[in-house]
Symmetry: C2
Subunit: 406 residues, 2 copies
Amino acid sequence: MAVGKEEAVVYHPVKGFKLGTGSAGIKKPGRKDLVVMEIPVGSSLASVFTLNQFCAAPVRVAKKHLATGALPRYLLTNTGNANAGTGEQGIIDAEACCQALASKMRCDAESILPFSTGVIGEPLPVAKITAGLESAIANLSEEGWEEAAHGIMTTDTRPKGASDQFEYQGKTVTVTGISKGSGMIMPNMATMLGYVATDAEVEPNLLQRLLSHTSDRSFNRITVDGDTSTNDACILVATGQSGVEITDLEPVLMERFTQALEHVMLSLAHAIVKDGEGATKFVEVRVEKAGSTEEALKVAYTIAHSPLVKTALFASDPNWGRILACVGRAGVHDLDVSDVQIWLDEVCIVDKGARATSYTEEQGQQVMNRENICIRVILNRGGFVDQVWTTDLSHDYVTINAEYRS
Amino acid sequence: MAVGKEEAVVYHPVKGFKLGTGSAGIKKPGRKDLVVMEIPVGSSLASVFTLNQFCAAPVRVAKKHLATGALPRYLLTNTGNANAGTGEQGIIDAEACCQALASKMRCDAESILPFSTGVIGEPLPVAKITAGLESAIANLSEEGWEEAAHGIMTTDTRPKGASDQFEYQGKTVTVTGISKGSGMIMPNMATMLGYVATDAEVEPNLLQRLLSHTSDRSFNRITVDGDTSTNDACILVATGQSGVEITDLEPVLMERFTQALEHVMLSLAHAIVKDGEGATKFVEVRVEKAGSTEEALKVAYTIAHSPLVKTALFASDPNWGRILACVGRAGVHDLDVSDVQIWLDEVCIVDKGARATSYTEEQGQQVMNRENICIRVILNRGGFVDQVWTTDLSHDYVTINAEYRS
């Protein structure tokens, strides 16, 4: 189950960036579970990783390889096994997979960044992955996006991709990305993998700044169940092969590029929420007139994480009392509840801290029947606004997570 | 559904404290939904209330009446309607109910403390409650505990009560209590009502100290879904009619009384968790060797609130990776993950930050099949220990909360 229909994605290839998907039979024989991406020489790369202190082995190895300062040449992703909670053996296993790919591609093992997603705590099946590499390498192609979007899926019910293009001085700039993730979605990159590439030329420091900025406004604003994974990572590669360079010196171009990048990142993040485990609704929780960004997010996440609000959303029940109770327990200092207003889309449900006098159950029900809903809380304490995106909590969520390993 | 069998409670009456249960037909005709408790002159009373900033009207009125400094003479509880999010009209309605009972009992309205639990945001049916008062008053009796335990239930599937007695110099001291609550259970008194009475003599300041201390170790350590209600309250009354006085000057007696009080409070709190909405397991999350109490609770609550851990518990799946991921994201500063050990009852599942080498899936499965489970995290950072109690997350939880209002 997922919210809305699956939208067809036109994947514009990114000049120089190749993807190959293969099969290692990690969980099921024949399943596409291995993806190799090739980064051309001369590219820049930026990355963000999980903040969970139990970083999985591949995250630790990727960070170590990045620390050499050399440009990574390959991204190696397996699904079905997260290689997390596997201690020192996990590190050895992740390095072994890098080494195997490096031997085949005739490069250093440090030029490979490994990514793993799936069950935590089981030993990585290194031999299977090594044996499967050939099938992925054989498919390496600039046209490989769609297959790779399938190849990185775990409990995802749909592939997730987004692509944007714009023209600049007769040249076309492309930004294309894929992502995976459906449970354990939380700020700080929860079980999410994202790979975005562009053929713009962007020097590494600027690229890192752009990735940090846009991931903070996209992947770090989504939550399904409040859990943060040990394996999350988002990689942004700029191959430069469009011949268009993005710099601070050309603000108009910079603006246009940032728009395209944000569009892709936000599409990928929203796609993850819509495919949230068991999701039947896509919900924006927006907090306005807050005293600070921190305060806005505190209230937004308290609502977005509340099982009582989420089950009410699943039941299409305009139970505004549960939303109001969340605002009251969000820990906002000295909150004057009589200043609080709450809206469901265009319907004001709470005014001056109590049910709005104009509100009728029918109005609330009409909004709740929708698949896309905005819960808007107006605190009237200042000028800050922020929002997060989330889903409801359904029977399917319980089923999926109670049965994931069986 | 609830964890374990319903245990028979022997309610020892508390000399001078009377309870009467009646019917006001608030949600369903004939349902017992109204409880009046009578406090004899000469008693002491202590109270703790919700920390949710959206206090419901009855909480605000109760606090106002307590502020007069006079001893309350009656506690008036209705179920079916929480009188929360009802603005100024809610205050007027709560006062009207107090006034109606005061007229009948020939006392001031300020001598009544009102309590409401049920749906948020609907106007309190004052006329129904007023009309139902007579049926509750007619039953006032020291023997009324068991009926009252039923009368304060909402989505509870069982009444909750506990009672303890001890002898002191030939006299018997009794502590008896009832509670309600099954969803929205969180620290800070989440949708919970608790009424405890003793025939010991305790001066008000000491009684408040004892209630604050024991509620912090019982009601404030339980969590079902992380939501905190707008209506929670716990009242402790000491009638003094046993003739035994508890004071700081008699530490042995004080210790014995505190034990009895803690036993009752903890039994009431655990009963709430076991009756948690849809609960199939009763889980203690215990964090040992933490750097501080705050740190221990941070880790304990992160685990206890994780939907992924809770669904794994529901599935009896020893998915220790999800527990480990919680420890990693709990926000413990400078955590050395290689120091962390995790146990499921007597089975060590994580050692040195990875799966314990001695661990087998069969061992974990054996523990997970139990109804009562202890998740024990050893941080090896200091000398602090604390624990919380919680439940799993089941299909029934979703069903109950998605359908509560229909």
